[in-house]
């Protein structure tokens, strides 16, 4: 029987547990630094977070479905990260805003979104156009070198799947996109799917021209939930209005109305940047055109608008595919499936191989953020 017409069956609990064992061991390994620390709350939250990640992996393996369980993690991460970050910043500085003292001290945590903007100035003049430190110090653990190293490993492991398993911002809009049962707005101009590339080109060019991180200064919507320059003058109020408007529009309202990740699909320059590295990962989604009936369920399910009629006809989603698994889970005919490049691995094997890699990174990075955020929250409330 052709593999394409058979959906993966439910696994038994013992078999699922056995397949989850490597992930559980990995999660335990990720917990070791927290378990060795002096903070009892941090140890407990480390256990809770990694236990949460292992449970979700178990359910993905047991049910044969990826998207829903991944979304539970991702939305939790998206909402908990800003909470933990804000608590940490208020504790350190007394304010959510970025004081000039911290800019001069170089203790601004380095965000991966900055990477595309820094490349040309760093290449031409060996300067970092960001108020951070290159190597970690006592006052700044989120230094540039460490974050770039993390990004490199993430890219080698995930490629474009960073957007579904790594990014701690995407969960916010994925959460808002899940609130309504049906979309209110359905027709979206497909040209805007190229928006992230336009934003990427704009910020790379303007940052190279002005030697300042123009995305951070003018456009980043997530400044609304992390940190922003102190609002001391009109020159700073205007960008604050812009990024607040972008956050409300692209992260809250449009996802709510369209049930899509509109900030990711229409705006995020880092998503476009990661797309350049998508070929690094051997994991793909493929559509079996023989099994496909053209119902379009996959395209409607895709949160990042990566699937359209062209893609379905071609047998593969577009460049915006984040490997979230929504299309595979929704396809009743099993036409949408996981694929390892070059191989004839059955979809379920390909999916498991991908999940070991992708979820392993999620435990490493996202699990750590969850633990840290919960610890901050516990200390604040406790």
């Amino acid at each position: 029987m052709p593999e394409s017409s058979v959906k993966p069956a439910f696994r038994s609990w013992p078999r699922a547990a056995l397949l989850t064992l490597p992930m559980a061991l990995w999660a335990l390994l990720m917990m070791v630094p927290a378990l060795r620390g002096p903070d009892r709350v941090a140890r407990l939250m480390g256990l809770v977070s990694e236990g949460f990640m292992v449970y979700l992996f178990l359910m993905m393996v047991r049910t044969g479905r990826t998207y829903f369980w991944r979304k539970v993690f991702f939305v939790t991460l998206g909402f908990l990260f800003p909470v933990g970050f804000i608590i940490e910043m208020v504790h350190l500085r007394g304010t959510m805003s970025l004081p000039v003292e911290h800019v001069i001290a170089g203790t601004t945590p380095f965000c991966f979104m900055v990477i595309p903007m820094t490349l040309i100035p760093a290449g031409l003049s060996r300067v970092l156009i960001f108020p951070g430190t290159i190597l970690a110090t006592v006052g700044n653990s989120k230094a540039v070198a460490g974050m770039v190293a993390l990004w490199l490993v993430a890219t080698l492991v995930l490629g474009k799947a960073w957007c579904a398993y790594g990014c701690f911002f995407g969960g916010l809009e994925e959460g808002f996109a899940s609130l309504l049962r049906r979309p209110v707005l359905k027709a979206l101009n497909p040209i805007f799917r190229l928006g992230p590339w336009a934003v990427l080109v704009t910020i790379v060019l303007t940052s190279a021209a002005t030697y300042s991180p123009t995305y951070c200064e003018w456009l980043c919507p997530f400044k609304a939930v992390t940190e922003f320059p102190e609002l001391t003058s009109g020159r700073i109020v205007l960008p604050a209005v812009i990024f607040s408007g972008l956050f409300l529009g692209l992260v809250v309202v449009l996802p709510l109305l369209t049930r899509k990740r509109t900030q990711c699909a229409f705006f995020c320059p880092f998503g476009a940047f990661q797309t350049l590295f998508a070929p690094v990962s051997p994991f793909r989604i493929r559509l079996d055109r023989d099994a496909c009936t053209g119902c379009g369920s996959c395209a409607r399910a895709c949160p990042n608008l990566a699937l359209d009629a062209d893609g379905i006809g071609r047998g593969a989603p577009g460049h915006a595919c984040m490997r979230c698994g929504a299309c595979v889970d929704v396809c009743r005919r099993g036409a949408a499936r996981w694929h390892v490049l070059g191989t004839e691995a059955p979809s379920e094997r390909a999916r498991l191989l991908f999940l070991y890699a992708g979820w392993g990174f999620a435990c490493l990075f996202g699990g750590g953020i969850l633990a840290s955020s919960l610890t901050h929250l516990f200390h604040l409330l406790g």
Binding site: L128, I129, V153, V157, T210, T232
Partner: protein
Amino acid sequence: MGMFKQILGYLATTGVLVVLILGPFVLMPRFSRLVGELGIRPHPRYAGGPVVRTLQRGGYQIELSAPAGAVGPLERTRRFVQVAWSPAEAVPEVVDECLDLHGDGRPEVRLSFRVPKDPRTPLQGRVEVLDAARVEPLAELGRSADLSAVLVRVDQRIVARIPVK
């Protein structure tokens, strides 16, 4: 060819898993060190210029940096000289210094400010420009979004930045 592609595909998958396992223990520290060795430095707009002179004043010292400013082609950063007093707790309550910013023996500005006991209290300084041909017009210094003209406490230092021509 088909078998070859299969082998490559599974090798790539194995490679990804190896990268993941080695990532936090081997690769990330190595990559981090590599990035550190690239010789990239924070923009002087944020970090100030390199320290070129140090003046000893009893229990504390004053570090004067080289003029720093725009690096990029269209940057509008003003040139400034960073002056840092450290350690901050050893600095006297009242500071009144004539500063030779360019190291040519002629002071260009006179900066005076009080150091409050509470380190969280913002600093406020008065500036007297002694050489208008070399220093931008300036009367006061304090906390400001303009990184080329500030007077703030940064960690264990008191940092002043004076815009120069």
